[in-house]
């Protein structure tokens, strides 16, 4: 590669790095230094010590589906300002349109229609509070999985109102830290009440009250001073919690997974173009450019992967837990594992197909993760029975890595089928290489998913004396193992060749998506969910698409464009023989 082309590669990586820096800078412009300092104060909510900033973001997310809000003409205001307004300037806060209501039935209850917008203020909704409570009481008599869209939205609105009231009264989060031996985190409302009734005042009451009063009175200097004074007290008593909370604010603002999503998409696009150029132009200037673009894509994806890794590591540090603790984090981890393996393959084979897969899978899984954020904090505490770092680190990680490997094999197989059937780009050497990749990945997937599944059984035996209970989640896991084992035996027995391997590997996608998501959806009535926006819809769509690809892949080899003019028998067979 000559010098100018090398410079282009570095330019791309540099631009990626710059783009990483942009959004925290922009968010910071909207947020004064003192507001940020307030956001870093540690509090306890849902059993976890976290900064005010996280509480503000997750609460606002629950209410409005966004992490920023509009205060009159000022758009994209930080969540922590909203929370402070809710607490200390209720008059202003009650006019912010932060309650999201979509369902026309629920809108009708508060005297609105779809034309009035999607978000409403507390002042607009509160007059209908009695009607909402009554309807919520009726709806809550239906089992959660059986509720219809109206009932779900209504209960949600009811809970959101409750949350808002609790936030404004400072009943949640538990804002008063344990500043002396034997103390616990407590809500400010309670501690403040005690102090007013003449009890021995908690040392945190006066400084917190001062912060809120200064904010209420609109005295920015006094507010800043009070926040700094109080932060010092807390940092002295709770140095570790303070450090973590500070780091978490950084993590929130930096939003590594959001950035990685964008960068993966860019990387995937670059890798695709490079791949197409490479396949169509064997030499000349275009081939040279394809190499430059391909290298830039690999570098960009590598940097993005590091970002992804940093995000994952931050979560591990903040939670003090292995990377996978819930559905959201499993999606992040599945993506991470896939990208890692795909990039390693790119290093071995250098065909460009590894980078394309890394970009596409990284992007897709992070989008899936984004849609799994659900209600509130993604770093929730674990139920007692799940509270075991050892098993989370072994069983859950192994099973999730098994999903990664099965998906990776499936996506490589999709690339193989689409390239082979619809283009002339799948040359024999590439066909052979992808064949090896898929085969190797399936072996790896079989190992990981088996070990993960059996470790789960052993955990269950340790926890309640039942190695295997045939419950939906366990069955889902064992199906992934069996699918991989089936593919391998079919391959060894000569029942399938390359084409069959690819078709079955795509089938692995179906089994894995069933195990990952489908088993959670059992018992959900069709009538009860807003079908089109539900995860079930997306799962079905995915399954149908995979079946369609399997159907395409099952077409006789002579109808594949890549093989139609060459000798069909040669391309359809694995050269290396039975492994």
């Amino acid at each position: 590669m000559n010098e100018s082309r090398r410079q282009i590669v570095w330019l791309v990586v540099f631009m990626a790095a710059v783009s990483l820096g942009i959004s925290p800078a922009r968010a910071a412009a909207n947020q004064t230094e003192d507001l940020q300092a307030f956001g870093r104060l540690p509090v306890s909510a849902e059993g976890r010590v976290k900064p005010f900033d996280t509480v503000a973001r997750t609460s606002l997310m629950i209410l409005s589906g966004r992490q920023t809000f509009s205060a009159g003409q000022e758009n994209r205001q930080p969540a922590v300002r909203w929370l402070l307004d809710v607490i200390a300037r209720p008059k202003e806060a009650n006019a912010y349109k932060v309650f999201r209501v979509d369902h026309s039935g629920v809108l009708a209850l508060i005297g609105r229609t779809n034309e009035d917008g999607k978000r409403f203020s507390f002042d607009e909704i509160w007059p209908y509070q009695a009607v909402i409570s009554e309807q919520a009481r009726l709806a809550s008599q239906v089992k959660p999985k059986q509720r219809n869209a109206f009932q779900r939205q209504l209960i949600r609105l009811f809970r959101n109102l409750k949350l808002y009231v609790k936030l404004s009264a400072m009943e949640t989060p538990y804002a008063v830290p344990p500043l002396a031996e034997g103390q616990q985190w407590r809500p400010f409302s309670e501690v403040y009440q005690e102090a007013r009734q003449g009890g021995d005042p908690h040392p945190a009451v006066e400084p917190i009250a001062m912060i809120l009063k200064a904010y209420h009175d609109g005295k920015p200097h006094l507010f800043g001073d009070s926040v700094r004074r109080y932060s010092r007290i807390v940092a002295e008593q709770l140095p570790q919690e303070t450090r973590r909370a500070g780091f978490e604010v950084l993590f929130n603002r930096f939003a590594p997974f959001y950035k990685a999503t964008v960068l993966y998409a860019v990387g995937a696009l670059m890798a695709c173009v490079a791949f197409l150029l490479r396949c169509t132009q064997r030499d000349g200037a275009a081939a040279g450019w394809s190499r430059v673009l391909g290298n830039a894509a690999v570098w960009l994806l590598g940097v993005t992967f590091l970002l992804h890794t940093a995000g994952l590591a931050s979560r591990v540090y903040l939670q003090g837990r292995p990377p996978v603790t819930n559905l959201y984090s499993s999606a992040i981890f599945v993506g991470w594992g896939c990208v890692l393996m795909a990039l390693l393959m790119e290093r071995v084979h250098r065909l460009g197909i590894g980078s394309v897969t890394a970009g596409v899978v990284g992007f897709t899984t992070l989008i899936v993760a984004h849609n799994l954020v659900g209600d509130g904090d993604t770093m929730e505490m674990m139920q007692a029975v799940l509270d075991s770092n050892f098993w989370l680190a072994t069983h859950v990680v192994a099973v999730t890595a098994g999903y990664s490997a099965t998906f990776l094999a499936g996506f490589l197989a999709i690339a193989y089928i689409l390239l082979g059937v619809f283009t002339r780009l799948l040359k024999p050497d590439m066909s052979k290489a992808i064949g090896q990749m898929v085969y190797g990945t399936v072996c790896f997937a079989a190992l990981l998913s088996f070990v993960g599944t059996v470790l789960g059984g052993i955990w269950a035996d340790q926890s309640w004396g039942r190695f295997w209970g045939w419950d939906p989640k366990e069955n889902g896991a064992v199906l992934v193992v069996m699918m991989n084992v089936l593919i391998l035996h079919a391959r060894w027995g000569g029942m399938i060749k390359l084409r069959g391997l690819m078709v079955l590997a795509v089938g692995g996608n179906i089994v894995t998506s069933w195990s990952w998501f489908g088993t959670n959806m059992l018992g959900v009535g069709l009538h009860s969910y807003g079908f089109m926006d539900s995860a079930l819809f997306w799962l079905l769509l995915f399954v149908v698409s995979q079946l369609a690809i399997m159907g395409v892949g099952a077409m006789p080899i002579r109808s594949w464009r890549s093989f139609s003019e060459t000798d069909p028998t040669r391309s359809g067979r694995v050269e290396s023989g039975s492994p």
Binding site: D387, I458, G465, G469, W470, V478, M482, W514, G525, L526
Partner: protein
């Protein structure tokens, strides 16, 4: 080729392996879907611990889009499991040689063998029960949550109760009259409800038109409920029954017994008082377990449990044991072939519920897991090494 080999040939084929795996996958999938409508233990019995299962095709219909009143026969878990075992053994008998190259596969297949046998042992011999103990009290029996019994208790002796129990299968036979020399009366089951809901009776006759004449049932009504399914919060069926008791051809009255009614109901027979009640089937133990202290920690400001633990005292006069043990999450007590797990708690944290399991095969999966993992590592590892060596060359 000798005739034995020729006979084993088809049984050892890889094609058979693949077909069996595919069938097993379908069975597991069907057995998962069935849990939307049926209890998990019914599904385990019918699908995974059976030779043939009739799979209801309705389970494959999304929601209630269509009615498919059809079921198909399918090989059950025992059939597929034993065929897979036979396939594996036959393959090793005629195809695999004991060589270093095959070491990985041999190890891993030995592990699979052990795993399948372990599940078979569990299916045949494992027993599970619950032991619930209030704080400061003790228990010397376990309860089988999957079956109930009708207990008829003679409390007249101050030292101990005389108990006669009628097991569930006898109660399930509708309209039969249960008579036994040890029973002080005959029992006719007017209506048996495998799962039920209980409500206050406003007016009119009780559920199903039965008139309850005695006991708590006069103020209550029981209605049948669908069996609990594998995807619900509630995990245990709660049966109820209307019983008419009589002695010497003379009717004593009609009672409502239910798992929901935990107070004994009185039956007076010729001046002598008996207690009756429906309860989980019990198994008595030669030792007692006293609950000294039960702890239930929650995460601050939430209802999410953080930890449960039971400090118990184990008293076994036969074996001269009398010691304290702390049982908590992931730290069970193993004693006399049984294992005691912290399982649940009683409402208001007044007591603990321990799961008691006897499974002679409990160690087999541990060995199996090690063998299979090791085997796969050896096999795939050597393949990968070869591949990378070639790629570099």
């Amino acid at each position: 080729m000798n005739p034995a080999r020729r006979m084993l040939q088809p049984l050892a084929s890889l094609k058979l392996t693949v077909v069996l795996l595919a069938l097993a996958m379908f069975l597991v999938f069907a057995g998962t879907l069935a849990q939307v409508h049926q209890g998990i233990w019914v599904v385990v019995r019918d699908y995974f611990r059976s030779f043939v299962v009739w799979i209801d095709l309705q389970h494959f219909v999304l929601g209630e889009l269509a009615r498919v009143p059809l079921s198909i026969p399918f090989p059950g878990g025992f059939t597929l499991g034993s065929l897979l075992l036979a396939n594996l053994l036959a393959a090793h008998a005629i195809r695999f040689k004991l060589t270093r190259r095959r070491a990985g596969i041999l190890t891993l297949h030995a592990g699979i063998l052990l795993l399948l046998l372990g599940e078979l042992t569990t299916a045949l011999f494992a027993k599970e029960g619950n032991m619930s103990i209030d704080e400061g009290s003790y228990a010397n029996f376990t309860e089988n949550l999957r079956r109930v019994e009708l207990a008829v208790i003679d409390p007249s002796n101050p030292d101990h109760d005389e108990v006669v129990v009628v097991p569930q299968p006898m109660l399930e036979r509708a309209d039969s009259v249960i008579e036994h020399e040890q029973l002080p009366f005959s029992v006719r089951v007017d209506r048996w409800m495998h799962n039920s809901s209980l409500s206050r009776r406003e007016s009119g006759p009780a559920g199903g038109g039965f008139t309850v004449t005695a006991g708590f049932g006069t103020r209550l009504r029981a209605d049948p409920a669908p069996p609990v399914t594998g995807v619900e919060e509630q995990t245990v069926d709660a049966p109820s029954a209307y019983l008419t008791l009589s002695r010497g051809g003379q009717t004593l009255g009609t009672w409502l017994v239910s798992l929901y009614i935990d107070q004994p109901q009185e039956v007076s027979v010729e001046g002598k008082v008996y207690h009756i009640g429906l309860r989980f089937e019990r198994e008595y133990k030669p030792y007692t377990i006293h609950l000294i202290d039960f702890k239930h920690d929650k995460f601050i400001g939430t209802e999410k449990p953080r930890n449960f633990s039971s400090l118990i005292r184990l008293v076994d006069p036969e074996r001269h044991e009398d010691r304290e043990v702390l049982i908590y999450m992931n730290h069970p007590l193993r004693y006399r072939g049984e294992t005691f797990y912290q399982s649940a708690f009683k409402p208001g944290d007044i007591g603990t519920v321990l799961q008691v399991v006897r499974n002679p095969g409990w160690l087999m999966p541990y060995g199996a897991c090690k063998l299979v993992s090791l085997g796969m590592l050896i096999h795939f590892g050597s393949k990968l090494a070869t591949f990378l060596r070639r790629a570099r060359a």
